[in-house]
Symmetry: C2
Subunit: 331 residues, 2 copies
DNA sequence: GTTAAACGTGGAATCGATTCCACAACATAG
DNA sequence: CTATGTTGTGGAATCGATTCCACGTTTAAC
């Protein structure tokens, strides 16, 4: 690996001059500049980022903490982040907790020790330890998906998204609506979407049967199981005529169970979810859902973070994105 | 940000001693060790990775270059890589070219300037410039998906995968088989899979109609268009009775067109692809395909890279993974 | 009771950049 | 012809760690 010292010798100038040329700062004669650039070009020299960072305290690296890689959703978020950051010459240092909550704190510390210029966290569950850790980070920070007190965030209007989906089915004449949610440790998905559903039901004077409100995990098979659980609580004369799932994948799983059990969708039963990756478009019937435009969320988060970094002030700001309703054949 | 110097002062020892405690090297008295650890614990001190890297030439960061983020496949590969690397205390510096070939070289240089300990590249097209760049990197390196001369790689047996899928349809009694491929700039997907298809046809004495061999891009809509193109070349009396698509997403798109046109799958026509993300399981009928187990590929690549880094020898080694056949209802 | 080995510790050099400062050369102003 | 800028350059300090080396102090060996 070449160093600035060697470049300096080859160009017959001092290291200071090489640095000045490369950073376009201070006075450099045309003579010297040309010699330096020629050597740099010829040798393919690239300054050591570590030495630079050590000196300047800027790394041009952003830490990203994800709950899980390997889903289209996560990929899209990262893609959005990457699009904005790479334009500005920033790189992404990626970590994934694989849904282990204790790793979130570990990774935040790790990223700090790598002196990242900022952190974007896509969290699922927020606990007090995590909150405390974030507070004392003293780093530009943006959360995606969950609203965290006194911290910048990009979130979705989960309450109204869920309410709108539920109302849509009610308007289509459905009234016996079942619900598949997730654990309430997840504020956005577990709590807000559930409340949206309940409010829609209440405002329309509809009953909610307790046995028809079950919880699932975030994957497809779990949606299938949850649906089976609801059907087990169902007598022949009193079947649900609609089902609202808090995520797209749960809905896909539920739909699978319904089809296997012989239900006709949407003739006998409607089904909706939230979130729009490719799969919901190509299941049969295509799923009515809410597109959360994850790329946009990633982009907005990245922009907010860059703004914080540049202004060098740790203000906080909240962005709430609205989903885009996609009506397909499942209702 | 705390520095080692401050920790040293607080623990009333020298910086050397602090360093020895943290790295568990050399002699340190129990007395001093305890004092240092106590201070570290209390202050939450974490050493600056940049200073460490500058001194030790090790960063514990691996650069990953992807063609595109935001697909389940890419996510799974990264997930596999991450699983192995994070166990060993390595981080991922992620870059995505978004399918712009010239960016690959740019990113390789960038990663080198960040002194990553190694690079994993998931390439689509390999051109001479890229090859030359890789050669002169002088860094531990592993390619995923494409076989690159004299460089370590984890690839799939694309030829036999395609051949097996084609033979499967032939065994089911199909003979008028159409083919949807991709551009041949992609050696693995464009060339090898095509050859596997052609060989299966040839060995079974089957004709391949030129109008029934078309190319698509890597996305679903493009598969739909390609299928429409084939159907346009088809007279009423001579319709294909099977179609092999080189990717799962192309197959999903093609299936959509077939269903819209009124074909009964698999009664009138069989369809297969390669690659198994969730979508192929939940389309109707479920797609017969080859699971390429991207997580495994990611893991193997990471392991190979770590082996190179530890042995500090730039040997190369090839791993060829076999897909796992998944027979579903589309044939 | 020397002599040698095992412990413990701090000083100082080093990694590869940036940047402040001093100084020289030359031009311009008064 | 002295003062005052403007250019241009290199030296040296600095960022925050690691690590070699020198130098004490114990402990063990014969």
């Amino acid at each position: 690996m070449l160093t600035i010292k060697e470049i300096a010798e080859m160009a017959r100038v001092s290291r200071s001059t090489v640095s000045r040329v490369l950073n376009e700062s201070g006075y450099v004669s045309e003579e010297a500049r040309k010699r330096v650039l020629e050597v740099v070009e010829r040798t393919g020299y690239v300054p050591s980022q570590h030495a630079q960072s050590l000196r300047t305290k800027k790394t041009r690296v952003i830490g990203v903490v994800l709950p899980k890689l390997g889903t289209e959703t996560a990929g899209r978020v990262v893609n959005g982040i990457n699009e904005i950051l790479s334009e500005q010459g920033y790189q992404i240092l990626l970590t994934s907790t694989n849904l282990q909550a204790e790793k979130e704190i570990e990774y935040l510390r790790l990223l700090k020790s790598r002196q990242v210029d900022g952190i974007i966290l896509s969290a699922t569950n927020i606990n007090d330890n995590l909150l405390a850790e974030i507070k004392q980070l003293k780093l530009p920070f943006v959360a995606i998906g969950q609203d965290i007190p006194s911290v910048s965030s990009v979130t979705y209007d989960d309450f109204h998204a869920a309410k709108a989906m539920t109302e849509l089915m009610i308007k289509k004449g459905r009234s016996k609506i079942a619900f598949i949610g997730v654990d309430e440790a997840d504020q956005a998905v577990g709590v807000m979407r559930k409340q949206g559903f309940l409010q829609a039901m209440k405002q329309n004077g509809l009953q909610v049967r307790k046995e028809w409100m079950v919880t699932a995990d975030f994957d497809i098979p779990s949606g299938s199981r949850a649906m089976a659980q609801i059907l087990a609580e169902t007598t022949e004369g009193n079947k649900p005529d609609a089902i609202f799932c808090v995520t797209e994948r749960i809905a896909v799983g539920a739909m699978q169970t319904l089809k296997e059990t012989g239900f006709k969708i949407p003739a006998q039963i409607s089904i909706t979810g939230i979130g729009a990756s490719d799969i919901s478009k190509y299941v049969d019937p295509a799923l009515t859902t809410m597109d959360y435009e994850n790329e946009t969320a990633g982009k907005e988060a990245a922009k907010m973070l860059l703004a914080q970094i540049e202004k060098n002030i740790l203000t906080h700001k909240k962005i709430v994105l609205n989903g885009r309703l996609i009506i397909r054949n499942s209702i």
